[in-house]
């Protein structure tokens, strides 16, 4: 079977539905609605039209030779998901799930968010479709991504800072699941990544796979060949699966996911789930997980809120297990240097999340040499990260410059 034909609930040994019974009916309803929508040309046409006239699809590709000169002269091509409306790839998935929300007749949506990009996208779709919207966000993240909190509130969403546990993305997911268990009759959970219980990993992937389908054709047109490798950052893994998926059965194309290495994978402060974790159950699916000997989830760390997650989507765990994709860590420091390098050489400010893929691309270029072509998913733009970057590089007037 083609790797691209793999569907949930299981990806090899990974995936499934490890959820309270109270959620099973809602997951069944969502899965059935999605299965019908997949077969309905009208749903596909409506989503494609929203992509074209609202998101700005297809997103362009940009070759970045000045940046690539720091990667041993490999050709580096960026897939510009940062240019989407709302500033990242997250809108692709949200529009699909918002259309499904209308189909199943629910009037309220909830979402979790880390960096705030998925929350902003969900709040945007809620405004567009007239849905009530509540976004759960770890208190730590509401502080480091204050701009996105303001954006969500301006869009009419209620933003709930989550004070439990590590007060980051994993706790925001817990709180969103508690809300969903309580309000499932009226509420649809718009999940932001390819993790969680079935049908989310398959459905979110399907809404994101447009990234790779466009990019595969665009790179072929530009270079006359498929890329040597494809690089993407991996937190939960939605932008990575989105760009990988079209290439899964192109065996000659290497697929590389870059996890948040934080302060280093030999420290306790990282979010390199596949690199350092082992299989377990979190947030409704069996997948790789950062956990202690007792199965307690270990708090992750990344300078990037969007990658600061101790789990990963089950399809990535499967691709790692069968050797189709390789997952490597990139430290906070390497990501921040790559962020500044792309900004200074090409005038493109990437999100810190996406900067992990850029740092990975530099590493791959040095390994593969000047004859290689590296396709990088530039999954988001860096506007939201200005405070973090300004503090990191000492760009505010009252601080010493670097």
């Amino acid at each position: 079977m083609a790797l691209r034909a793999q569907t949930g609930p299981y990806f090899g040994d990974f995936g499934g539905r490890f959820v309270p019974e109270s959620l099973v009916a809602a997951l069944d309803q969502l899965g059935e609605a999605y299965d019908l929508a997949k077969l309905d040309p009208a749903f596909g046409a409506e989503l494609a039209e929203l992509g074209r006239s609202y998101t700005g699809r297809p997103s362009i590709i940009t070759e970045v030779p000045r940046f690539a000169s720091h990667a041993a002269g490999a050709r580096i091509i960026l897939k510009r998901e940062d240019l989407n409306h709302t500033g990242s790839h997250k809108i692709n998935n949200v529009l699909g799930q918002a259309l499904l929300t209308k189909r199943i007749g629910k009037s309220r949506v909830i979402a979790e968010t880390g960096a705030g990009q998925h929350g902003v996208a969900t709040a945007t779709a809620a405004a567009l479709f007239g849905l009530e919207c509540t976004v759960y966000m770890g208190e730590v993240d509401t502080e480091r991504q204050a701009l996105n909190v303001a954006r969500m509130r301006l869009l009419g969403a209620e933003v709930v800072p989550v004070k439990a546990g590590s007060r980051t993305l994993k706790d925001a997911i817990n709180e969103a699941m508690r809300d969903w268990v309580t309000n499932v009759a009226t509420t649809n959970y718009i999940f932001g990544t390819v993790a969680g219980p079935h049908p989310f990993p398959e459905m979110v992937r399907d809404f994101q796979k447009v990234i790779g389908e466009e990019a595969r054709a665009q790179v072929l047109e530009l270079t006359g060949a498929l890329p040597t490798v494809v690089a993407a950052c991996v937190g939960g893994g939605s932008n990575a699966i989105g760009i990988f998926h079209a290439f899964l059965d192109d065996a000659e194309v290497g697929l590389y996911g870059f996890e948040a290495g934080g302060e280093g994978v030999d420290t306790e402060r990282h979010a390199a789930t596949i690199t350092k974790g082992r299989p377990g159950v979190l947030h409704g699916a069996r997948s790789y997980l950062l956990q202690d000997d007792d199965g307690q989830t270990i708090e992750s760390h990344s300078i990037s809120a969007g990658l600061d997650y101790p789990g990963v989507g089950p399809e990535h765990s499967w691709l790692a297990a069968i050797g189709r994709a390789e997952y490597r860590p990139v430290t906070d420091a390497a990501a921040m240097q790559a962020l500044r390098l792309l900004t200074r050489t090409e005038g493109i400010i990437p999100a810190i999340e996406s900067a992990h893929a850029l740092a990975g691309a530099i590493e791959l270029g040095r390994e593969l040499g000047p004859d290689s072509t590296i396709l990088v998913n530039l999954s988001g733009r860096g506007d939201k990260d200005m405070d973090t970057a300004a503090t990191y590089f000492g760009l505010y007037d009252q601080e010493a410059g670097e």
Binding site: F18, E21, S22, G280, V281, G295
Partner: protein, 261 residues
């Protein structure tokens, strides 16, 4: 092995049903959690539900979250759960079910967990985030060891899923009274009565109702139609605010709700 079905049957003969009490291991300290568990049994709780603290308790409200986070911060280890079962069953006769999220069991090893729980004198497991569809390993391990396995039924469960819960459970079916998470509520949802009736039609030998029950009057009301009433957050709150004496007093008060009028 002390299983729960005989106790629930006996309490439905001699009283209006069984009172099931939840407390987490390690809160406020390991030793006090043992004393509290013994105290609620001595004051009329028929079956103990002992919670293992977990980092990501998606079915729990703020009271139990706060208690289990404190237990984790205090150094709770999984092995403490077995030690707690050993100490409690040495002192009181009530069967002890462990309530645990699924990942700690997976990491410990499902068979090893079942063996160690049985050896400690435990009755079985309540698994809030494990549905029968994903439970083949646990069903096999509990068949082998004779442990009870309590799955959940929800107001939104289809008739087919209720039959699955009934066929997969042994001991009782945990009947979720309302759509939501743990925590005291002023009214126990009318959905519970309907769900218990649906479970009876699905062949359930015993259905115990949990979520939101905090007073003797609610216990009495639930036991009009259910085989057992499960109280959790109210006991944890009493323990947090008034210590072992207070949780014992609340258990005695709740037990009055289980007396036959």
């Amino acid at each position: 092995m002390r299983t729960v079905a005989p106790v629930i049957a006996r309490r439905n003969d001699e009283a209006s049903g069984a009172l099931i009490g939840y407390l987490p291991v390690g809160f406020p300290t390991f030793d006090e959690s043992i004393e509290a568990a013994v105290a609620i049994v001595e004051n009329g709780v028929d079956v103990l539900e002992l919670g293992l603290p977990y980092s990501d308790p998606v079915m729990d409200g703020t009271v139990i979250q706060a208690a289990t986070q404190q237990a984790l911060a205090g150094g709770f280890r999984l092995a403490d759960g077995f030690e707690a079962v050993r100490r409690i069953t040495a002192r009181v006769d009530a069967p002890v079910l462990i309530m645990t999220y699924w990942n700690p069991v997976v990491q410990y090893g499902v068979d090893r967990f079942a063996d160690d729980l049985a050896a400690a004198g435990g009755a079985g497991l309540i698994t809030p985030d494990l549905i029968p569809d994903e439970a083949a390993d646990w069903i096999a391990a509990s068949e082998r060891t004779g442990l009870d396995r309590v799955f959940l039924a929800a107001p939104t469960s289809s008739d087919a899923r209720l039959r699955l819960a009934v066929e997969s459970s042994r001991g009782f079916v945990y009947t979720v009274s309302t759509m939501g998470i743990t925590g005291a509520r002023s009214d126990v949802d009318g959905a519970a009565r309907t769900l218990v009736a649906r479970l009876a039609e699905a062949g359930s030998p015993a259905s115990c109702v949990g979520l939101g029950i905090s007073t003797a009057a609610q216990v009495a009301e639930v036991l009009e139609y259910a085989d057992g009433a499960i109280v959790g957050s109210a006991l944890v709150k009493a323990l947090a605010e008034g210590g072992v004496a207070a949780v014992g007093e609340l258990a005695a008060e709740l037990a009055r709700g289980a007396r036959r009028e």
